[in-house]
Every structure is written in C-alpha cells, then in structure tokens.
Subunit: 425 residues, 2 copies
C-alpha cells in the first residue's frame, strides 16, 4: 500500500469520456490498496479559449484578472473528475488551490509556491475520500488567485506529493515515459527505466517536453520521486529520482529543440564594452539568450551571434535596434532554421571523450556544427534545422543507445499519437 | 453623485461585444459623477453548458461539487468585464463571492446569505476602482463555494447594495421595466414608474419574470431601492421601493403564468383525514401546491384538485401513487393546459369590488374560471391556457390600465426581443 499523487494533463481530461477513464484509473489504484490524490489540468483547449476571450476585451490583460480567469479551467475539470468518481461509487471531494493549501507569492501568471498546508487533503484521505486538486493555481497573501505559469500543474502535483509525504508523484500524460530520444524521429529510441533529477532537468531544458523543468527542480529540491507514465496504458513509465549508484551508460538521452533562432549582429567594432552593451540591452528586454558565439576579429570588427527562443523575437529586435546606432554595427539578421541537439548523461562526468565522439560522428555524417555549449552532464550543438532528425539518429547509434527492435507504439491509438504532438501545460 | 450597484444578467454579458457595452454603460455612470459597483451573471448559456458537462459524468451530481462548477461561470464574466474596463482606461478589480464578503449558510445550490463583509469593495471604491462582483455565489463557513439558486445574482446585487449603503440597486436586463402586464400579449401595457415591494412580490410569484422574488424579499427586508431597467437603452425603468403615500390605482398590474398544471384526484371518500393524507404526501415529496379546490361531496365522495408547477410532475405522481391505495380514490389525471391570471395592487386593500369587476369581466367574455385564490393585494384566477391572452387583455381594459398608444418596442432590436423570451438566472 502506497500513498500516491496522480496528475493528469489537459489531454487526459479533455472530454467527459476521458474524465471517466481517469476516474477508472484512480479507482484501480485505490482497489490495489493505495491511497490516492488526483491533480488535474484544465480540459483540452479550455485555457486557450479563455485566453481568446480575454484578448477579445483587452489587448494586454492585467495579470491578476487573467489569473482568476484561467484558474476557472482547473476548477471545472476538478469538479467533473470528483463527480465522475462519485458516480462510480467512490467518495470524492475537489479542492481549489486555496483549499488545497497552496500558498504562493503574489507574482501573478508565474507565482512561486511559498508554503503548503495540506490538512484538508489529509483529513479527506483519512475519511476515505479521493481528493481531487486543481493544478496550476494557488493563493497569495491577499487571498487572490495566482497561477504558477507553464508546467504549473506538474509543480502542484509535486508540491502536494511533498506536502502529504507521498511515496510517489505519478505524472500521467500522452507520452509513456522518458526516452533515450524522441521516438518520432529515431525509431530505435528506448524508454528509460529511470533518470536522475539532473539528467531530467538537462533533458527538459534541452527540449524534451515530457516534464516541466520547474516541477523537476521542485522534486529534486524536496526529493520527491516522480513516475512519468502514459494516461492511456498500464505499462510502467520512467522513474525520476536521485542518482542511483548503479553502473550507468555514458549518455542517458538525446534531446532536440527546434524552437530557437540564431541572431547575428554583423561587423561589430571589436572594442571594450561593445558586447556588454549588446547583451545588457538584450537582458533588460527579457531575451533568454542560450548560446553566444563571437567570431575571430577581422579588420577590427567581428560578428556576434546568439541563440534564443523564437518567441523572444520581437523583444530581441527592439533591444538590438536600440543599441545599433550607438555601437556602430553594420546590421543584423535572424536565422530561424536552426536546431539544438543535446547529449545528456551523468555518466559524462566520469567519461572523457564524449565530445570527441560527438564531433567525429557529426563530421563523418557531414553535419555542420554552428555552435557548442556544455554543462557537466550535457553537450549541446546547434545545427541546421533540416539536419536534426539525422543528427539525432546517428548520435543515438554512436552512443549505443539503439534498442534491438524498432520502436512500436502498440498501446497508442492514432488519435493519441496525434495528441502527443500537442503541448499541454 | 450617487453610490450605485449595477447588476447585469447573462444576456447582457453573453459575448465580448456585449461585455464592452456593459463597460461603456458603467463608465457613463462614473462620468456622470457616480460611484459604481457591478454585479454580473454568467455569460449567456455558460451555466447550461456546465450543467451538461456535469450530467455527462454524474446523473445526480452532489451539490458541493456542482456549486463549485457553476460558480466558475460568474468568475469568467466578472474578470472579462474588469478586463474590458481596464482596456477603456478605468481601474477595475473583480471579486468572487468570497472576496466580496458574501457569507452564506452551507445549503449548497440554494444557500442563504447570512453575513456580508464589504470592506474590500469599499476600499476599492475609495481607491477609484470600479469593482466587479460575481453574482450567484458566496462562501460558507467551511470555505466552500455555495450558490444562491435561481435569481441568485439579483440577490447578490441587492445584498451588496445594502452592505455598502448604495443609493440604488440598478438591475439591468433585457426587459426595460415592470409593465402593467406582459406587452407581448397586451399591446396597450404601460411601463410602471414605480411599484411597491409587496406588489412586486405578488407580481413575481404570479409569473412576472422581471425580478426574482428572493431579491425583492431581501430588498424589502433591508429597504434597498431597486431600479429595474433595460441593458439596451437609456430610458428609465421601474423603481421598486416602499409604498408611496400618493393616490394609487386600484390595480397596479396583471401577471400571468402558464407554467402550472392542475392535478385532480377522482372520487375521494369524503371522510376525515383523507385530504390531510394526500396533502401531507405531496408536501413530503416537495410538491409546491398553489391552489386547492375541493368540489361538493356527492354520494360520500369528492374530487380534489390542486395546482402546482409542471416541473413538480414526477414528484406529484410518486406522492399520489403512494397514497392512492390507502385512501381508496378511483384515479387521478393531470391537465397541463391551464393558466393563472393575477390582478395585483396595494390599492385593492381600500377598494372593495375588485373581485366583482374581475368575475363580471370574465363572464362577459365567456372565460371559464376553474379556481380562485386571493391575498390582501392579489386576486388569482385559473383558466384554460388558450384563453390567457384574451383574459389579460379584457382585464387590462376593465381596470383602466390601457395606455393611450399601442406599445412599441422602438428601443429593442429583433435579436433583443428574441432574447426577452429567454430566462436568465
């Protein structure tokens, strides 16, 4: 018998039928002898619909009102799940972020959890209820609803799991675990039995969409074991936890990300303080720079390139335009057709030669590396976007990650595979 | 300069465009020098949509969960109205029932307001905001959301008006005031400048849908002046307040109601306690009996008839079937094709002869009266449903209520007239 927090994303609760499916799974967990608390996201496209309504009356909606508006989405799905459980003969009770005791700071739209009071959840469990908690939301000290930003429901689940001392936080989604790489582009990808928090963080930041980084950070900090698994099958998924002392592969997984762009500022005078001016302006405009590349200086001028999310384009343009006259650069351009491929593994720390193998593999396959960055457990390479699938495949083979058999998604329907392409929150 | 609470029903906030219209009206009230607090219902059909979702997962949804689910409707409309006001350059802030300090008892789905703490609203007004309050909802002592039942948003508005000591509670809807009778069936109906609380209560209970009875009861109890007016025109509506000492017409208005049915139990033995058994069973089954008619006894048996809302049919059937064997009646039948026409006026108290005039008018026009009931300021008659329009017209003329000109709805569009047929909450 275990105490389990089970979180279900928007795709899993997108219709009354799917909500019934989630209820059945919770009941199965209960009948297997576990105590269980559910955490839910808003149904399917609810959040987008609410955002569209807000945009129809206000082109820059104030954050407090927007938070209250968006938080209704999870309140709808949580009550429907509680109603479905009751219909099936199980006592259930739903709790908003406030009622679940999720206290946050007052930073609307991306609040941070500062305290958790889980008494109501614990009392409900003791009384034999299956509590259902609204993900993504909390309450600040003014009593105003705050939302936790992207990945907020995963964070809620991990926070509740920590608060009630759950044995595991199961995160159900349309993906059935963490793979050595994206099975859609590398058919020989393998599902990982477990990864460490640090590896998962690097994989998430490098573009793997299975879990939101903040939730993994929270889980790491408070040592909450996560089980990432499929909402549509009973197969075990991937456990995310502290590093295990077992022998490890050098590389655990390969992530890729095509959502970044490369900006190049041409012919920047190579004098002190110029680069600082550029990057200060970018920071002040909230552009999330990832890699920075400065070419060798030719005739006293150089090209400065950096990568950042494509979503930051407008802010990047405004930052660059503001400093361009001052620094005397000749111009700038943007290349959105780039991709980042990242090798991740704690085994890298004790295995020199990872970069040598990586670069040799890329070179043998005529894939041009535009930029490189590293962390102790990650090596990222920027390449042309149309090379990304081939790069992932050859690296996957080179680092001996290939499975014996071609990956087959026997447990997912066509609709569910299509759903995998969507991003929940 | 006045302090005004302005309540807008579901039709008035049914789309972003209409929400913008509501915002414009609030701004006009502000620019005329008033302080203003808005109270809103859920957008258009939101409540019905939420009920359909609940019904899809539970055929008898527990009240606590249903309340939470339904309360999201008003939270969506309130934030959108606040966003629309902000967009137009006015500071606005939205409050849930909890934040507006509407404390209720714990009777889910039809909670009663027990306390009001309006500090947040008052502080917001002082700081120059236009506060927007979610109608229909409050919070019980467990911190659970409760809804106030049908007419709940009107009740919220009156309660807030009382709480902050507003000069008037303006209730905007798709009807532009209280008429001497329904203008759709009596073209010579006149809009009333004012009616007393008691008259309004009798008119509401007799089928006039302009205001919900509970809100009028609350307003009477706490002496809150209501102004019932159109959301789609600037014309003054009807003031509902304490009786004025002015000379009054004998009859203020004529209401009609076709939502009742007549049930007749045939050949009931005329012995002590039989009628009591029938009516006890009906009460215990929550059948809201209106009028009761017992015919003269023939050969020791009689027919007992009563009227009640058609919505109570299933419960009435089950009550009657449970006592039928015991009382030895021969059977029963239901007539849904009846209507109730009610004359209402505080002037009745000091004017004998109202019933004589009414009965003579009906008789002269060959309209058969099936049952009669009275209060000090009301005379109701049950007739065949297909006579109702003619009955209203001839009574309207007989009691000298006819306007000089045929009623013309120049201020309403075709769409708005269609919307008048809908019922909000």
């Amino acid at each position: 018998m275990a105490l389990i927090v089970a979180k279900f994303g928007g795709t899993s609760v997108a219709s009354p039928e799917r909500i019934n499916g989630v209820a059945d799974r919770l009941i199965r967990l209960r009948e297997e002898g576990n105590q269980v608390v559910a955490v839910v996201s808003a149904m399917g496209k609810t959040t987008d619909d609410l955002l569209a309504l807000a945009a129809a009356v206000n082109d820059a909606p104030p954050a407090r009102e927007l938070d209250r508006l968006l938080s209704t989405g999870e309140q709808i799905s949580m009550t429907l799940l509680a109603l479905a459980l009751e219909q099936k003969g199980y006592k259930s009770i739903s709790y908003t972020g406030r009622q679940a005791g999720i206290q946050t700071n007052g930073i609307h739209n991306k609040a941070k959890i500062v305290k958790i009071h889980n008494e109501r959840i614990e009392r409900a469990l003791d009384a034999g209820f299956i509590p259902v908690v609204a993900g993504f939301q909390g309450i600040d000290e003014n009593g105003d609803m705050t939302t936790l930003g992207r990945g907020g429901s995963d964070t809620t689940a991990v926070a509740v799991a920590w608060g009630i001392g759950a044995d595991v936080c199961e995160i159900y989604s349309d993906v059935d675990g963490v793979y050595t790489t994206d099975p859609r582009i590398a058919p020989r990808a393998k599902k990982l039995e477990s990864v460490s928090y640090d590896e998962m963080l690097e994989l998430s930041s490098a573009g793997s969409g299975v879990l939101q980084m903040r939730a993994v950070e929270f889980a790491k900090k408070w040592n909450v074991k996560i089980h990432a698994r499929s909402a549509f099958s009973d197969a075990a998924g991937t456990i995310i936890r502290e590093e295990t002392p077992m022998e490890q592969a050098v590389i655990t997984g390969i992530a890729h990300d095509t959502s970044e762009m490369k900006v190049t500022i041409r012919h920047v005078p190579d004098t002190t303080g110029v680069a600082a001016k550029v990057f200060t302006a970018l920071s002040e405009n909230m552009v999330n720079m990832d890699m920075i590349i400065q070419n060798t200086s030719l005739d006293g001028a150089t090209d400065i390139s950096f990568t950042c999310p494509e979503a930051d384009l407008a802010r990047a343009v405004s930052a660059i335009e503001s400093v361009l006259p001052e620094i005397g650069a000749s111009g700038w351009d943007v290349d959105e057709d780039i991709a980042k491929v990242s090798l991740v593994g704690t085994g890298m720390k004790s295995s020199p030669g990872v970069s040598a193998t990586a670069f040799r593999t890329m070179s043998e396959n005529d894939i041009n590396i535009l930029a490189i960055s590293t962390s102790p457990i990650r090596l990222s390479m920027v390449i042309e976007a149309d090379e990304v699938a081939r790069a992932v495949q050859v690296l996957h083979t080179a680092f001996e990650l290939d499975s014996d058999s071609i990956f087959e998604e026997t447990q997912l329907s066509a609709e569910e595979i299509a759903a995998k392409m969507e991003k929940g929150r």
